[in-house]
Subunit: 193 residues, 2 copies
DNA sequence: ATAGTTTTTTATCATTTGATAAATTTTCGC
DNA sequence: GCGAAAATTTATCAAATGATAAAAAACTAT
């Protein structure tokens, strides 16, 4: 059954970070729910509360926020990865960021309530979660360093080099929002390169 | 004894994130070592391996990196806070960032070896560590958002507003490196405001 | 296929920041 | 306090990016 495969892929991701043990894996798996979003649909509204950790079975999403009349993208997440909106998830408070599907997307998720129970009961679950957040932190560190250090044109080229597969799936406008520049500026950068 | 107070402050920070229980607190405390650095001294060299999690009993440090002929500051950490160089610490690999004391500084630290043992033995220790990293992540998220969204002058004013105490302790040059602009640019911004 | 919509490009001018150099002020050791 | 060194400011010109408008290209629904 499709649903089982989606769950297995979620658990597979978890166990690559930290093997759970049979008990934990079974119980973990029972808490998972698969949901679908069409291209353009909102998965989490700005000011909504993020109640889940998500695994992307297929598709692509962006976490982003609107400010003045421009928008900015924190990160893209494609199939095979996990995401949540960390500050909202941890504190269960309104999120500064929204999440939107950029393609038809299949997500398998676990609720914070269930995740907390798992973490309390199984040390391995907590270890997995710690590693997941660690990965996110390390990513963010290098992003901060890169934004401070490099101009948009260099960051654009770096992104092309590091995510050759993603590039074709992301619009110019979204790419610009991720770089923190306007669509028009990115178009100019492209013309020059 | 001074050393005991330093350890108690470290443990106090930990317990505010996650109460440890008596056993864990005692054993945790036994692994702590206090070290001192003078203003200007290097706590961790770029390409060094970060083997500790540090608590700052007193003083101020910066984590930074050099690139081309400019330098950039990832973060300042003042007394009462904890820090490590996360990617280097987790993977025990050479660090892209250096750590330097901006004032005479007293640090109390625990080695990764001991921390790993504590986390394996006490669930609470791992929970503490997860929360520590979570805090760092949430901080970094808002920093990324702010850098994307705001010009240096706005980020400077925000920093003044959020860290009125720190401002007097940080040089113009370091402040500029934190903002990702040159010293001269920050001086100009100051003149205009 | 066509009309309408959205996305991307091109152009122009304004603002922000960088690079460099020099002047000024502050800090620090003696 | 004095002089050297370091930090900060001021000035000038160049490069990167923003704002706006309009043209061109790509995509969509009928």
């Amino acid at each position: 059954m499709e649903q089982d495969k989606y769950k297995r892929d979620f658990i597979g991701f978890v166990e690559r970070l930290c093997p759970l043990g049979n008990d934990a894996a079974t119980i973990f798996s029972q808490q998972l729910v698969t949901v679908r979003f069409n291209k353009g649909e909102t998965i989490l509204k700005q000011d909504g509360i993020c109640r889940y950790v998500y695994f992307i079975n297929s598709g692509l999403v962006k976490t982003w926020f609107e400010s003045k009349d421009r928008s900015f993208i924190m990160r893209f997440f494609a199939e095979g990865n996990m995401f949540t909106v960390l500050d909202s998830y941890l504190a269960q408070q309104p999120s500064a960021y929204a999440v939107e599907a950029l393609e038809n997307t299949v997500l398998t998720r676990i609720s914070k309530t269930d995740m907390d129970k798992l973490c309390a009961r199984f040390h391995t679950a907590e270890t997995f979660f710690r590693k997941l957040i660690s990965m996110a932190s390390v990513n963010m560190m290098s992003r901060i360093g890169e934004i401070l250090e490099e101009q948009a044109s260099v960051r654009y080229e770096n992104f092309l080099g590091e995510n050759p597969d993603l590039v074709q799936r992301i619009s110019l406008g979204d790419m610009a929002s991720y770089l923190g520049i306007t669509q028009v500026s990115l178009s100019r950068i492209r013309a020059i390169i």
